[in-house]
Amino acid sequence: METVWITSGSTRVEAMINPLAAACIGDGIDDPFIPDTVYFLDNPGLGDTLSEAKTLAREILEGHGVESPTIHTSTLEAETDFEAIAAYFQAAVEDARAADADVAIDVTPGRKFMSVFAFEAGTTYDVDHLFYFYLHSNAYFDQIYQTIPRTAGELYDFTEVI
């Protein structure tokens, strides 16, 4: 079965990548979640960050045995184009559902309104997982998951906790 990860965009590559890395090893959740398809949401304000996130996402997934991960990118013309944000999540979930995939939405990265739309999409379309990566201290805010002490962060699946 296909596994799909849908996330938004952020100016911080760590915010986009760390939840994915934690999911792949099953840090804090019942079973590892290793997607073969990832959806990102770019916008003009992110500069090169999204291409860096794609590089890292590909390396992480290949490292977990996904031979050629599919990485989709949608682009917003402006980050406050709320209708486009909502449409992005809806389309990504519909695509995943059409492929009968196990679907996860990551609500961690981006501005608060991005997370609001991500969470709303997750509950509206009843996705399989709603992930949030929690860091106990902001001391590790600017680090990649692999170099953050394992006990300093935890992935939550909101579909399990609420």
Partner: protein, 350 residues
């Protein structure tokens, strides 16, 4: 597999993921055995239990000296170096913290905005290996509030110190053959062939700190001879006609007395004779400690992995990059470490 010091947490994470939450740190020699036990818990306050304290360690290496002679004994760091490695990693403190703070308050914290001349810190050769800029809490980039006067403004780097740090002996060339060391301490030591011997590895730690300060911090490189007299005279002469001043730090009372006689401010940095039995440490401090111990001892043994601070093939670039060689004794650990190290490196080079 090589791992730079900055990425040793990747190894700790890999061990943690394999349910190795208690990390025993052992020396390969049966006579020495377990040094420390690390419980990987709170990222800011994990527990480190010292199984072999400095006093016990001293008595063990004295037995080794009696049994195998001075040449073998000299290939083990002494008990003071063992304490200093814990200080350098932030796990233990220096003994005379108050005296150091008083001295820094008296001579440092120059208000550059008020036109005060900067004050630099100079370290004697015997302190350079132990990350004093950080341990003493004086580094201008790490300490002091933004815009406020800093403890010191940079560093005085004497050429004589550099010269002393560069002094190096190598196993099989100018030091005992590594194979003989392996006969006593364990086959792991065969890999040290051609590498700097114990004393020289300690100096390598110092040389790296010297270079780090020279590359990344405000500094004066001061022409000087080697030896206490040469280093002190070089500093005195350099600053004779400069508004800038220096405070010299040494682990040697003779050096401090001689500097003070010459009217150069100087202070002794004292280390305790032993370390506390139970210590709390951050994971970053633990990673740094593992690096220091791997270099000092040459080899240390962890669960599922053996860490080499020096190995055949370690070159100047590896020393510069502060790498250790990790030999995984578990294929699963090797797979995790290889994958996560690669990701961490990709991230670093983005």
């Amino acid at each position: 597999m090589q791992l730079p010091r900055d990425h040793i947490v990747v190894l700790l994470n890999a061990l943690y993921d394999m349910d190795e939450r208690t990390i025993t740190v052992q020396h390969p020699a049966a006579e020495i055995g377990e040094l420390l036990r690390i419980n990987l818990g709170d990222p800011q306050a994990s527990t480190v239990t010292v199984k072999t304290g400095a006093m016990t360690y001293d008595s063990i290496i004295n037995d080794i000296q009696r049994e195998y002679g001075d040449e073998v004994y000299n290939e083990l760091p002494n008990e003071a170096a063992y304490v200093k490695a814990l200080v350098a990693s932030g796990l233990a403190d220096i003994r005379n913290r108050d005296e150091i703070d008083t001295t820094i308050k008296r001579y440092g914290y120059q208000d550059l905005h008020e036109g005060h001349p900067p004050r630099y810190a100079g370290f004697d050769t015997n302190l350079l290996p132990w990350r004093m800029h950080d341990v003493l809490g004086i580094d201008p980039e790490l300490y002091g509030e933004d815009g406020a006067p800093k403890p010191v403004n940079g560093y005085t780097l004497a050429e004589g110190v550099d010269e002393e740090l560069k002094h190096s002996h190598r196993y099989g060339h100018t030091a005992m053959p590594a194979a003989e060391l392996a006969d006593v301490f364990g086959t792991e030591f065969e890999r040290l062939d051609g590498q700097p011997n114990q004393d020289s590895r300690e100096m390598r730690l110092g040389l790296r700190e010297y270079r780090r300060l020279r590359e990344t911090r405000p500094h004066d490189v001061v022409a000087s001879d080697t030896g206490d007299a040469g280093i002190i005279a070089g500093c005195k002469e350099f600053y004779a006609d400069e508004p800038t001043g220096v405070i010299l730090f040494s682990n040697d009372y003779g050096f401090v007395d001689r500097a003070r006689e010459q009217k150069v401010p100087a202070v002794h940095v004292e280390f305790d004779l032993d370390v506390p039995k139970t210590i709390t440490a951050t994971w970053d401090e633990i990673a740094l400690l593992l690096y220091e111990l791997a270099v000092l001892f040459g080899v240390i043994v962890l669960p599922k992995a053996t860490l080499y601070g020096a190995w055949d093939g370690k070159d100047e670039q590896d020393w510069q990059a502060e790498t250790i060689d990790v030999q995984c004794r578990s294929d699963d650990l090797e797979d995790i470490l290889r994958r996560d190290r690669a990701i961490a490196e990709t991230y670093t080079h983005l």
